[in-house]
Amino acid sequence: MSILVVADHDNDTIKASTLVTVAAATAIGGDIEVLVAGENCGAAGEAASKIAGVSKVLVADNAAYAHAIAENIAALVVELGPNYSHILTATTTTGKNFMPRVAALLDVAQISDISAVVSEDTFERPIYAGNAIATVQSSDSIKVLTVRGTAFDPVAADGGSAAIEAVDVVTDTGLTTWDRDEIVKLERPELTAASIIVSGGRGMQNGENFALLESVADKLGAAIGASRAAVDAGFVPNDMQVGQTGKIVAPDLYIAVGISGAIQHLAGMKDSKVIVAINKDEDAPIFQVADYGLVADLFKAVPELDSML
């Protein structure tokens, strides 16, 4: 079997989600090749060649692949696809964007967001916001999979010495042009990479009150998240959302502040190693998943916590 992992990268470095995807590929077993498609992405290609367990790195370096335009990336992967038994990428907004196009153009199903590998054609994946786990089997000749970022332990980023090969397939469909990005400058770790997350919900009452969480987060080296209720209320931007429709996280410590624990929020964080809930409503469902619950007014408890760190 030969497996293609489409790398998640920023042209200079390989993102941690790629190491998780390679781990899933390793669990399937076979020859693992990594595709790095981008513009001026040589450094990312070099980094990919050092990933443990990778036998070959394909680098497609062209303006058509800048900004991961789905139509163009998909056309490239479809061109390479028939050489492989499995095509994998991370369940990121980039992977979710281009991968179903790949599957459709190869006339195969995609299995989204796999959380475990049972065998080469059978996988587990969460459904209904993680309230059920489906074990599914693909009958297609090529298995197209996206991999849940929290489900596999990442492989080592170094130790490998894969050959690097340039790919000169260039497809610019001309269907989509990129205009601009507005990336929030993070002074803290990224949500999906953080080992500690402090999250606020509707109980925060407004966006300004998130400053309380920021102070705690800075002392803990934590990322800041939010529930959908806090995002819907306009307290904070959507990229901070943890949940079924936001980011799926599994840090060592998740501190939920003023979050009631709606099903769709729990879906995004209940695999965290240790969960702390601070909520004044003792009946809030968040306490059912919390390892440590504190029934208290967050506006008293959070400053107190801050002063003790």
């Binding site: 693909s138 269907l175 500690i196 769709q264």
Partner: protein, 250 residues
């Protein structure tokens, strides 16, 4: 411009789903079914385009059992003009849905297709992208803003870490994210009016589409349960537990 909107019949988002004890699936008996929330956002966006004079007609499509008519009626009550039901009892997976939609796009020739970014039952997030691929159209997924231009649409997308703005050639597929709009509620007069709006029915065979499932569900199990935690009385106790018992902070 004609706008095609897709709606999926799903378990209502307020329902706490239970896995069947024989592990064949989740319990759907007497469970409230609704329009997938992201598809409600898609309907709203299409209706707003019509109200703004950008779109002339909003056509809503659902694919599944005859019960999906209920969700089509909901969309008609929210302002869609007519419905299409592709009726089948088959387990319709995203690739098969996309093939049906490709056939309908050829028939209807819409200028824009709006779908939800994911359905809250299977959480696949595939169908819009697959429709775009098969129909050879551009796609703008996870949209939080949509501006129709001259033969193009400029779409702001929710991506990891922030926002991205792209311009796609029309016709295109747009999939909706949460902040695109806030869907309205249907008024009683509009619910009554919706009963008279037409719904055309096809079968996948009418559309020349082979819909046999490619993925077989072997079993469905409940997720691993977390062991019960404890309630601490004070912030001091909490910090002590985190430092000395859980050892997650120092």
């Amino acid at each position: 411009m004609k706008v095609l909107v897709t709606v999926k019949r799903v378990v209502d988002y307020n329902v706490n789903v239970r896995v069947l004890s024989d592990n064949t699936g989740v319990d759907l008996n007497n469970v409230k079914m609704s329009v997938n929330p992201f598809d409600e956002i898609a309907i709203e966006e299409a209706v707003r385009l019509k109200e703004a004079g950008t779109a002339e007609e909003v056509v809503v499509v659902s694919i599944g059992t005859s019960a999906c008519q209920e969700q089509i009626r909901t969309a008609l009550a929210l302002g869609a003009d007519r419905g299409i039901l592709v009726e089948t009892d088959e387990d319709m997976q995203p690739l098969a849905i996309a093939k049906c939609m490709k056939a309908l796009i050829e028939k209807e020739q819409p200028g824009l297709i709006i779908t939800g970014k994911q359905a809250i039952d299977d959480d696949n997030s595939q169908t819009g992208q697959m429709i775009a691929a098969l129909a050879g159209l551009s796609q703008a997924t996870f949209a939080s803003e949509l501006v129709i231009g001259d033969g193009t649409a400029t779409v702001t997308r929710e991506i990891d870490g922030g926002l991205e703005t792209i311009t796609v050639k029309l016709p295109a597929i747009v999939t909706t994210d949460l902040r695109l709009n806030e869907p309205r509620y249907a008024s009683l007069p509009n619910i009554m009016k919706a009963k008279k709006k037409p719904i055309d029915t096809y079968t996948p065979a009418d559309l020349g589409v082979e819909v046999a499932p490619r993925v077989k569900t072997l079993k469905v199990t409940p997720p691993a349960e977390r062991k019960a935690g404890i309630i601490v009385e004070t912030v001091e106790e909490l910090v002590d537990k985190l430092k000395n018992e859980a050892k997650v902070i120092s």
